[in-house]
């Protein structure tokens, strides 16, 4: 356990607690950024350089920005009170505590851990690129297909609907039922 682990681990836990417990959704999004940066630091501390930078690019640069944009797009003006459903923390805390007992019990009872026999060789970005283009080329192509499908699907879902469009959709400008 290194000082870096304590620093970044602290960032991760504090940021996650803030992201889940703060009242203002935008503050939650910014607290999430702290968690992602802490995780990127933990990856760097573990020796996964490229993964740490990818974490910053993908999560801080894309996912967190997207989250904040959607928060701003879906503001109604009237306060969404209360932010937590009635009894929500009780139920969520109960389920999470049960999972915690299972996970921590399993982790604490690990035995017979074999240390690495030979010293670790850290792959460079070049090694990773070569591996992606040779051994992992099929998964890489499949991920490309998945990302394309997700992008098209997200655009279709988020596009404004046309009048007389698909059945069961609310025309624009009308108040939805209920």
């Amino acid at each position: 356990m290194t000082p870096w682990f304590l620093l970044f681990g602290g960032l991760v836990v504090v940021g996650a607690l803030g992201a889940m417990a703060l009242r203002n959704p935008v503050h939650c999004g910014l607290s999430l950024v702290v968690t992602f940066v802490g995780l990127a630091g933990t990856y760097l501390d573990l020796g996964a350089d490229f993964l740490g930078l990818a974490q910053i690019l993908v999560y801080v640069g894309a996912v967190a920005i997207l989250l904040v944009f959607v928060m701003l797009l879906t503001r109604t003006g009237r306060g969404e009170s209360p932010e937590v459903r009635p009894g929500g923390w009780w139920w969520g805390g109960l389920v999470a505590a049960l999972v915690a007992v299972g996970l921590v019990g399993a982790l604490a009872s690990v035995s017979g851990w074999k240390p690495r026999s030979e010293p670790m060789t850290f792959p460079t970005v070049r090694d990773l690129g070569v591996a992606l283009m040779t051994d992992f080329v099929l998964p890489l192509q499949l991920v490309g297909v998945v990302l394309t499908a997700a992008m098209i699907g997200a655009a279709i879902l988020a596009l404004p609907e046309r009048r007389g469009g698909r059945v069961g959709r609310t025309p624009k400008g009308e108040e939805p039922e209920q």
Binding site: M1, V12, A16, L17, A19, M20, L32, T35, L39, T42, Y43, L46, G47, A48, F50, L51, V58, Y59, A62, V63, L66, L67, V70, T74, E80, P82, E83, V84, R85, G88, G92, G93, V95, A96, V99, A100, L103, V104, L107, W113, P115, R116, F122, D127, L128, L132, D135, F136, V143, V146, A150, M151, G153, A154, L157, A158, T170, E175, P176, Q178
Partner: protein
Amino acid sequence: MNPAQPYLFLAAALFIIGMAGALARRNAILALVGIELMLNAANLSFVAFWRHGPHPDPQTGLMFALFSIAIAGAEAAVGLALIIALFRHRRSVSLEAAESLKG
């Protein structure tokens, strides 16, 4: 205490916080944030096992985490598009606004 254990405990803490939040928050965006936290916890354990596991392969664990990040990006995009569609129909991102399938 094996060297991967602190990281695994950190991943467990992250997973539990995300799960409690995803179950408790009423805002659909913040439930999605909780799911993102759980995904990141899984990623952290991948990297910890890659670094400290007994298997000598230097790349496979990293690749696992890398592909997992890509899939998480797709998941966030689709989830947020769904939230925008929900907001367009119900004028709210509260999860209780999406209860028309309730029996």
